[in-house]
Every structure is written in C-alpha cells, then in structure tokens.
C-alpha cells in the first residue's frame, strides 16, 4: 500500500478507536443497568445530552474548557439520580414493554425541556488551543491530541471499571445481584441502594461522554438518540451485563463503523457515478454495525461475553 493511504487508514483507525471509546463509555453504564437491574433504559441518551449541554454552556460562558468536565459530571449525575428516584425505581418490577414506553416518554420530555430552556440551535465549545493543533505521531501521521486524550480517558475508565467490578466488594455485589437479586437482599444488602449507585455511575459516564463529544460532533437536541441505538447494539453484541463485552464490542463496532464510512463510498466510486456511490456507500456503511450485530447474534445468541465481568 502507498504510504499516503497507509496514513489515511491509520488516521481512520484512530478515529474509530475514539468513537469506539465513546460508545464504550455509554454502553458500560447501559449494560450494568440492564444486566444488574433488568431495566431497559432508553433515556440513557438523554443523560448524554444533559452532560453535553451543561458542560458546554458553562465552558462557553466562562471560556474555560476544563471547567465543563466537572459541571457535566454533576449535571448528568444529579439528573440521573433524580430520574432513578422518580421513574426508574418504579420500573424494576415491570416488564420490558412498560420500561420501553416510560423511558421513551422521558426522551420526549428531556428533548423538549432542552428546547424550551436553550433553544433549537446547536451550541458549541472550542477545544483548548493546547489540544487542538495536530501532533505528529508517526512520520506523516498528524492527529489532534484532543482525540488522543479521549481515547486515553476511555481506556482509563475501562481499567477503573474492571477493577471496580472484579476487585471491590461493590463489584462483587453488582455481579451477585445480576444473577440473584432476591438472595442478595435476603443476606442483608440493600439492593436498592446498589441500584442507585449503579445508575448514578452510568449517568456520570454518559455525561462525561456527552461533554467531550461536543467539540467533535454537535451538541444539539436529539444527539442522545443518535448514539443510543449504536450503544444498544454494542451492549447486545458485547453481552448484557458484561463490562469487558462493552469494551471489546464498543471498540470493534466503533472501528468498523468509522472505516466503512470513510472508505466505502470511495471504493464504490470505482463502479458507479460519484453521487450515487456516495449515497449508497453511506447507506451501506450505516448498516454496517447492524449487520455485524445480526451476524454475532446468529452465532452467539447471548452476545460475545454473556453475564460475566
């Protein structure tokens, strides 16, 4: 391969890794919530959005990008706790249908609240100067440090979650609760407190992901739903309840999706007129992760790493 196209491929691989890390941050929370609590939470994307908006607005007002991070965490975390106490708590005993409907209602509510308070125009925050200018990773390969930071942060979170789930008592209880909720309660553990902690953790991750994704993709109403579908695919492919699965599947799907979008239209241009190739290329690329999920589910119906760590 020519060095130029090699550079392009590496660049897109890194982009894919970064997108994959974002998916992982969202999927980790979602897989825990579904795996431990048995709740399908469609409103997870709304927490993503709340974090993005809160952080972006504060960062924009103060001119300080870094300030946005704790703000996003607090906003998403607080919203998550409120949602858990008011709505999710009542859905533990209900079936999936009711959960889908109720959390779908939450999506509508959150989207409209944001529209009411902030308006329909997307908001922006600029990447700090120090992180914006591309650095040379390899001869000829320039990459923005901001994205590298996201990748690093995501991998750190993955490590942290792994340690939390596998090496701490809370992690033990989370894993135990995933297999037998009633027994954990019968041994004296307040499982509802555990649920609140898990939900809150998921909310923090979502809020963080939302804020740091802002400079790369727009902060606008409905941003949650766009990424939510992909997140669900990651959760299912990785195996419900598995953090390891969320990590592996997230990165895999992130890379596949990015590479397809980057290179498929170009490949198709060789066989059809440009505008058609572009449209069809993007169309098939969008299908990519779903096709992958269908394939995985047909071979491993419970996902890659079902009910584990």
């Amino acid at each position: 391969m020519r060095p130029g196209s090699m550079i392009l491929v590496l660049e897109q691989l890194l982009n894919g890794l970064q997108y994959g890390v974002m998916l992982f941050l969202l999927a980790a929370g979602l897989t825990l919530i579904f795996g431990i609590m048995g709740v399908i939470n469609l409103a997870h994307g709304s927490l993503f959005m709340v974090g993005a908006y809160a952080g972006t607005l504060v960062a924009g007002a103060t001119g300080n990008f870094w300030l946005g991070i704790p703000v996003a965490l607090v906003a998403a975390g607080a919203t998550g706790l409120a949602v858990e106490a008011l709505v999710i708590r009542r859905l533990y005993a209900r079936d999936h249908l009711d959960q889908v409907l109720a959390t779908f209602g939450l999506i509508l509510i959150f989207n409209q609240i944001i529209t009411l308070t902030v308006g329909r125009q997307p908001v922006f925050v600029a990447i700090p100067e120090s992180l914006a200018a591309p650095v040379e990773l390899l001869p000829g390969l320039f990459y923005p440090p901001y994205r590298l930071l996201i990748i690093a942060a995501g991998l750190l979170v993955a490590l942290g979650l792994y340690l939390l789930i596998n090496r701490t008592r809370i992690g033990m209880l989370v894993r135990a609760g995933a297999t037998n909720r009633d027994m954990v309660r019968a041994l004296g553990v307040d499982i509802r407190l555990l649920y609140t902690v898990v939900f809150g953790l998921g909310a923090l991750l979502a809020g963080f992901a939302g804020y740091v994704s802002g400079p790369i993709s727009a902060v606008q109403v409905g941003m949650g739903e766009q990424i939510l579908l992909s997140t669900f695919v990651v959760v299912v492919v990785g195996g419900v309840g598995s953090i390891k699965g969320a990590c592996v599947a997230g990165i895999l799907l992130g890379v596949v999706d990015t590479m397809l979008r980057a290179f498929l239209p170009g490949l198709l241009r060789g066989v059809m007129p440009a505008s058609e190739a572009d449209a069809l290329g993007i169309g098939i690329a969008s299908m990519g992760i779903y096709l992958l999920m269908a394939l995985v589910l047909l071979i491993r119906p419970k996902g890659l790493f079902a009910a584990g760590g």
């Binding site: 579904f34 399908i40 709505v87 009542r90 209900r94 999936h96 249908l97 009711d98 889908v100 409907l101 109720a102 779908f104 209602g105 939450l106 999506i107 509508l108 509510i109 989207n111 409209q112 609240i113 529209t115 009411l116 579908l229 669900f232 695919v233 299912v236 419900v240 505008s275 058609e276 449209a279 069809l280 290329g281 993007i282 169309g283 098939i284 969008s286 299908m287 779903y290 096709l291 999920m293 269908a294 589910l297 047909l298 119906p301 419970k302 996902g303």
Partner: protein, 331 residues
C-alpha cells in the same frame, strides 16, 4: 379485577359504538377531522398487527416500521414506474391500481417478515428486540440511500391508486374505501385470533415449554405469526402511502416502530380492540397537543409516563373496570 361478564359487556358496547360512529363520521366531521379518523383507521391496522405478535405472541418487535414502510414503498415504487412507464428491475411493470399495489405490498412485506423473522426468532429476550430493531434500521438506511427512489425525500405519489373506478380524490369516498379495507382486515384478524392457531400462540406466550411438550413447535408458530403480522403492517403502509400520497423514509424509521408500540401499549396489550383505542388516543393526543403548543412532545412524554406508571393494562383495562363499576351501580 373485572369479571369476564364485565369484560364482555365492555367489549360489546365498545364494538357497537365503534361501528355506528365509524359509518357516521363523514356526516359530522370537517375535512381535518375526517383526515384524522382515516389516519387512525390505517394506523390501527399496523398497531393491531404489532399487537398480534406482541400481545398474543409475546414477541417484542421494535422493527415493525420496516414492514409498514416497505408496504408504503412498494406502492411508491410501483407508482414511479407507472408514471415513467419503465419496468421495475427490468421486468416488473409499474401500476397505479389499488388492487395490484396493495396485494403486492402485502406479499413483499410478508416475504421480508419471513426473512427477518426466520433469523431473529433464533434469539430471544432483549436480543430479539435489538435484532428486529437492527434489521429495520438496515432497511431504513438502504432505502434512504436509493437516490432513484427519492433517497431522503421519499416518493411523492401524485395520485392515489385507482380502485374500481371510484373518485379517489373525494375525501369521503377515500374514507369509505379505507374503512372497507379496515373492516375486512379486522374481521380476518378476529378469525385468526380466535382460531386454533391463535389459541396455540397465546399458549406459547404463557408457557412455551409446555406447548412444545404438547407437540407444537414454538419456532414455527412464532414465525407464522410474525409473517402474518408483517403482512398486516405492510397493508397499513400501502394504504397510508395512498392516503398521504407520499411514501416517506420516516415510515421506516425506528421512531415509527416506537410510535406503533406506544399505540399498542396505550390501548392495552393483548386485547383485540385495544390497538384501535390506543391508536386513536395517540393520534388524537398528538394532533390536539400539537395545536396547543409548540412543545407538545413534552406533554406527550408526561402523559406516557403517567399512563405507564399509573395504570396497568391501558385503555382497554380501564374501560373494563369502568364497565364493572357501572354494573355494580346498576345492581
């Protein structure tokens, strides 16, 4: 809990009111209300189809928009090829005849349901929900990328398909045509639900293992149900494309699946008339709320939350409870 008698009474009263009201609608309704009722009728076919697999069969499909949308797109694509007189894929002639396009739509959506169902039913639980969603998304992205058929803009069907020489431009005629299709569909659905097939299906929802032990292969029964359901949704889509004179990619989007599911749940899952009430409630609410405020979705969301958290069994159960109360008051 409402007694079976109360439930039966509620059902019969509801049915009688429904039939009379439906026939009389054009006499009392203005054009926008007539349009609303027509849309309710058409969507309720899709909702009832979804309810068939969801309520009676216990399969949570988040991908029914695919069948609904493809029904619409078959009508649209046949129209495009009729309008420019070239055959589809080189050998299928276009058509603007309702009696051609509607069966075609039903067959195509049935085939699609066969493929999707055959693959998806090998999984279960949340995986099944996701895989049906995935397939629907794939179809959505595929059609949006087809520039030849409108891409993101969809297909405008200039004229509603012709049917028995009637004047399909007249709103009232169109309404009665749709009502006719609706009635035929509902009768057919009633027969299926109350047939031995329907009974077996309901048995499977309750206890699959037992039904299997009795000799009924779960996979096959569920697949048949899924295909029938897909055909119903396709019928709905075809009628909708004719009514709106537009086949839009929105019809394939997952939010349409979510809307259909909302209609089913609002009305009460697993009841026969439930989907009709649910569709009516959803569309009326949507229309009325949208007229009140720009932020109507906020209210819709709040109402959804209230319905789910506050009630069990949706409108149908609510009506049965009301009937029970009334009966107690009378005696």
């Amino acid at each position: 809990m409402p007694s079976p008698d109360a439930r039966n009474l509620a059902r019969r009263i509801g049915l009688a009111v429904l039939v009379v009201a439906l026939l009389a609608v054009p006499m009392f309704a203005d054009s926008s209300s007539l349009s609303l009722v027509t849309r309710i009728l058409i969507y309720s076919i899709a909702a009832a189809s979804l309810n068939f697999v969801l309520g009676y069969g216990g399969m949570i499909s988040l991908g029914h928009a695919a069948f609904f949308g493809i029904g619409g797109y078959v009508v649209g694509m046949l129209f495009v090829h009729h309008a420019d007189a070239t055959p589809l894929m080189g050998f299928i002639p276009g058509s603007n005849q309702l009696l051609v396009t509607v069966p075609a739509a039903v067959v195509v959506s049935g085939l699609l349901a066969l493929i999707i169902g055959a693959l998806s039913l090998r999984t279960g639980g949340v995986q099944f929900i996701m895989i049906t969603l995935a397939f629907a998304q794939m179809i959505f992205f595929f059609f949006v990328s087809l520039k030849a058929y409108g891409g993101e803009d969809g297909i405008i069907v200039r004229r509603t398909n012709e049917f028995l020489g009637l004047n399909m431009r007249d709103r009232v005629t169109l309404y009665y045509v749709m009502l006719g299709f609706w009635a035929v569909f509902m009768l057919a659905l009633w027969r299926v639900v109350h047939s031995s097939f329907g009974t077996v299906l309901r048995g499977m929802k309750q206890n699959e293992r037992r039904m299997a032990a009795l000799g009924y292969a779960p996979y096959r029964y569920k697949l048949y149900a899924f295909v029938l359901s897909g055909m119903g949704a396709g019928l709905s889509g075809a009628l909708m494309a004719n009514f709106l004179r537009f086949a839009s990619p929105d019809m394939l989007h997952w939010t349409k699946s979510a809307a259909l599911m909302t209609m089913v749940i609002l009305g009460g899952v697993g009841s026969f008339l439930g989907p009709i009430w649910g569709t009516a409630a959803y569309l009326v609410l949507e229309t009325w709320l949208a007229a009140q405020t720009e932020y109507w979705q906020l209210w819709l969301g709040l109402i959804l939350l209230a319905v789910v958290l506050g009630t069990r069994g949706g409108i149908n159960a609510g009506m049965a409870r009301l009937a029970a109360l009334m009966m107690r008051g009378r005696g």
